[in-house]
């Protein structure tokens, strides 16, 4: 089983290739959109590359879900994720660290959840870590 650092090293090289960024920009806390300028199409690219790099299958909506809140109108109110929505988010993305997001769960801040560390956590769980 790879260590967290081994997973991180491979994720970093994947992101360097997919996003054309420098290695030192890819820190654990770097946000894919906010810091590494990933666009929506890059998420598809990243998933393909991770599947190859780690030999895993990443089902649609698992790592980068897009439609979590579409199932229930009670998940979001006034542009904020409700407690019910947060519970759903935690359930669907157990690999995400929601502690910061809970303080100010504005929907437009949700993209900040998608950090390099989130990918590493996801893969560690996937690989049985």
């Amino acid at each position: 089983m790879p260590t967290k650092d081994e997973v991180f090293q491979k994720v970093r090289s994947t992101l360097v290739d997919a996003l054309n960024v420098d290695e030192d920009e890819v820190t654990p806390s770097a946000r894919l959109r906010g810091d590494l300028n990933a666009e929506s199409i890059d998420f598809l690219d990243i998933v393909f590359r991770l599947e190859k790099q780690f030999g895993v299958k990443i089902p649609r909506e698992e790592l980068f879900p897009e439609s979590i809140f579409q199932g229930d109108a009670d998940f979001v109110a006034d542009g904020k994720v409700t407690p019910k929505g947060l519970a759903e988010l935690q359930e669907r993305m157990p690999f995400a660290d929601l502690s910061e997001f809970r303080k100010d769960p504005r929907l437009d801040k949700m993209e900040d959840l998608f950090t390099v560390d989130l990918i590493v956590n996801y893969l560690q769980r996937k690989l049985g870590g």
């Binding site: 199409i41 890059d42 598809l44 690219d45 393909f48 190859k52 649609r60």
Partner: protein, 163 residues
Amino acid sequence: MRWLWIDRFTAFEPGRSAAAVKCLSHAEDHFADHLPGFPVMPAPLILEGLAQTGGILVGQAHRYEKNVVLAKMAAKFHREAFPGEVLTYTATAVDLGETGARVAGEARVGGELVAEADILFAFPTADQLPPDLPDTKFVFGGEMAQLLRQAESVAAGASGRPP
């Protein structure tokens, strides 16, 4: 001008690879300006041909039921291509997914490598399309239809030569 940058398929293995040819002729308007006195095939049009070869490969793998759009491309060029030459495009499926596909492409003249490209296609769903674009699998309509039929016939074992 018609936006078809391949002339015909010469090989088609569904879900795996496709090969197509493009004959370059002085009669094509773009050679007049690109470049004056030194006609060479514009690089973006070589990439367009490669993308059409790869796009039909991945479109066919989903029975043309998805919108296939070119999302990302990284290319490397090795030499120019000139009027009178025949470009052979090969596209090999690297990843075929539900939301997109990756294709490795090569353009050659005879045995000589002209360009290589890594091409990422996305399959936007109806709600991901721009509001003014109907969900009609637009890429595979119109003038492209004849090429699709020709690709199917090559896949079924035809030689790729005209009848």
